[in-house]
Structures are given as C-alpha cells and as structure tokens.
Symmetry: C2
Subunit: 199 residues, 2 copies
DNA sequence: CTCCATAATTGACCACGGTCAAATTTCACA
DNA sequence: TGTGAAATTTGACCGTGGTCAATTATGGAG
C-alpha cells in the first residue's frame, strides 16, 4: 500500500495493522512524550516487524505528522465551535490551548514548523492541512471583526500565524523567555491588528 | 577541551586539528552542499578519528552552527556597511542576499530556525548571536527611519524577523511558492511598517 | 634531559532510522 | 474448495551520528 497515492488499502488486515501501530505510538507518547518515541518500541508494542512500519509510514516523521495533525485538528474543532471573536483578547484566548500544545515540546514545535508547508503537492500531510484550516478560520473571523481594512483578511491571517510562531520560538530561547508566550503574542497582535498611526 | 566553558585551548595542536576539521567541512559544503555533509567524510579529509570530531564539536549541528553563523556574519557585515535605509525597498534590498542564503537549502533554513534561539545561556551559538546582531542593526535603522511611532523599534525589528522567516517558509511550500520570497516579504513589510488606518 | 599529570586522540562499539529481497497471507475467480 | 497473482509482512542488514575506555602526545617542573 501507499508509496504514491495512498489510496484505500485493499485488505482489512492493513487497517488493523495500521491502527495497531498508531495506537502503540500514542501509548508511548502518553506515557512519555513525542521526543521519546522510538520506532523499535512502537513495533515491539504493536507486534509487527520493522519493515511493516515503513510500509505504512514513509518515515517516523510521517507518523508524527498524523498524530500531531490529529491533535491540532481537535483544537481547531474547539476553536470553530466558539463564537466569532471580536477582540484581540478573544483571539488570544481561543488560540491559547493550541499554542500551549505547540510549545509543549521543542521536538513538537520543530516538527510542526517543518511540516506546516509541504514541499510537494503529493506530500501535503495532516499538519499542513491544519495550517490551511487555521488560515480559513482566521480569515472568516477577521472579515467579521474588522480590525484593519487596508489589508486583506488573508494577509492579516498570515501575519497572525507568523507572530504565533515567533512568540513560541522566542519562548524556547533563554534570552527571551522571561515573557510568557501569551504576553508576547498579545503584544504582536495589538501592533499588527490595531496600529495607531498619527496622520 | 571544551565541555563547559570552551576556554582557550591549551595546546596549539588543538587549534590545528579544529582548523583542519572546519576546512574539511567547508570543502565538502563548497563541492556539494550543507545537507550532503557527512561526519565520516569530514574526518577522512581531515585525517582524524571520529572521536576527535566530537571532542571538538558537541555534535554535527554544532559544526554547522559555526559555519553557517560565519556566513551570516559576513552578510551582516555588508549590511552594516550600507547607509541607513530610508524606505522599505531599501530594507528589502539590504536583506536580499542574506534571505537568499537562508532559503538556499531547506536543511540550512531548518537549522537556522532551530539554532536562532539558544535553549540555555551556555549554548548560545553563532547563529543565535547573529540573530541578536540582526535585531540591533534593524533597531538602529528603524529608529532613524521613523516608519511607526506607536511601537518601539525593537518590536518593529522582531516583527520584521518574524515576517522574514514566514516569507522563506512559505517559499518552501508547494501551495504558496508561486510568489517570490521578496514579493511576499515586501507585502508583509508594507503592512507591518506602513499601515494605513482611516480615522 | 627526564618525568608525569593532563590534554588530546583513537577506533571499536552502540543506537536508531531506514531498506529490500524473500516469505507469507489474502481473496477474486474458477 | 483450490489456485495463483497481488498485497502484506518479515527480519537481516545498512548508513550514519554519537560514546567512551584506553592510548598517546604535550609541556612545565625539577
């Protein structure tokens, strides 16, 4: 199976094996963390051979992409259920759980960054998809909220993502981590969405 | 040597070995690229043992940090020699060579991101230092140029860095790479430094 | 010049992600 | 139910980064 098109598997066995591998991986991640996951541990729990793992997932990161993407999707589900935010503070609150997750492990953050944009059309994965979804949600919020009208909601959304990443990145940095992620993110969003220009 | 303080090496032998390793690495990078560098090739050219390599550099990435940091520093030297830019276009032109380098290889970009903020004081490396330097240069430019006065030059500088990274990241992304890095960066900087708000 | 503490080097060895030809299982069809 | 082509699984093997106890070179004191 997989390789190129990742079309439907033809045997049910496949689904079972795949589910076993993923649930073994989740078990390890719950017990320890993402960084601690070893392919050998996954296959040992799932009782499969190493080759099977790589027949199902292109590499270890591809499995991570699936699991992390699933998590991000769950956060976005909650986000979408929220009423359209009207203030910057609303936006910050809405994103806080997701931001917290992205900042939970250096390893997770790095992987999300690396996977947030796919290098080829046929390798657009879960994380890349969630970033697209994030943009869509933000765009609809921003076109209702009316912070700035000199630039498109799309551009505003891209900026928010850039600042979100910057806020998290600086959190991992010894020189800058005196300020909390949210304080910094808030600073950025105010400057980005509500500039005060004297004319 | 090294381990904690990385104080002056006590034997001249050390300097020679280190120089050999670094020049071997640069040779490989020139011939191929950063991604292609293998520790075994470096030590084979430098005629040392593997253990020696890791006595000099914590890991492969630490060597990369040094070489890439040196490159970035050279670009910043040129940047600093320039007259203080007055327009966004000036800023873009000034940064173009550096941006081009950061975008030259996915591997390089990922490593720069990972090393741009050190996780601990005693592991602040070359790349992290260059990011500090970049901020300083930008701050001085921005305080002269007077784009926005509602936020500090420091905050403006952080925003520029965030957008620079975003512009490069999207370049690596199949979904967004129709637009050039500079076009995108330009779009961001105009929206960031020259917002037009109707009052 | 000799001695020796300590800095520097060495290379066999390990960890872990990833590959692939061969073996096994599945299932559509007769 | 039997059969064979295709899907799936297997595990020995490889590449490469990284470790560490043992060995060797250095240079200052006597």
């Amino acid at each position: 199976m997989q390789k190129k098109h990742m079309t439907k598997p033809q045997q049910k066995r496949t689904l079972k094996t795949r589910a076993n591998l993923i649930s073994a991986a989740k078990h390890i991640i719950d017990k320890d963390n993402f960084e601690a996951l070893r392919v050998e541990d996954v296959i040992s729990i799932a009782r499969t051979a190493k080759g099977t793992f790589f027949a199902h997932f292109k590499d270890k990161d591809a499995l991570m992409d699936i699991i992390i993407g699933e998590k991000i999707d769950a956060y976005l589900d909650n986000l979408e259920a929220l009423p359209s935010p009207k203030t910057i503070s609303d936006i910050l609150n809405a994103f806080e759980p997701l931001v917290q997750f992205m900042a939970s492990e250096r390893y997770v953050f790095d992987l999300i960054i690396r996977y947030s944009g796919a290098a080829q059309i046929d390798q657009i994965g879960h994380i890349a998809t969630t970033f697209g979804r994030q943009t869509t949600i933000l765009e609809s919020w921003l076109s209702e909220a009316n912070f700035r009208n000199d630039i498109s909601p799309e551009l505003q959304a891209e900026g928010i993502q850039a600042f979100m990443i910057q806020a998290i990145a600086l959190k991992f940095c010894e020189l800058h981590n005196s300020q909390s992620i949210n304080d910094r993110f808030s600073l950025y969003l105010n400057a980005w969405l509500k500039p005060i220009i004297a004319h």
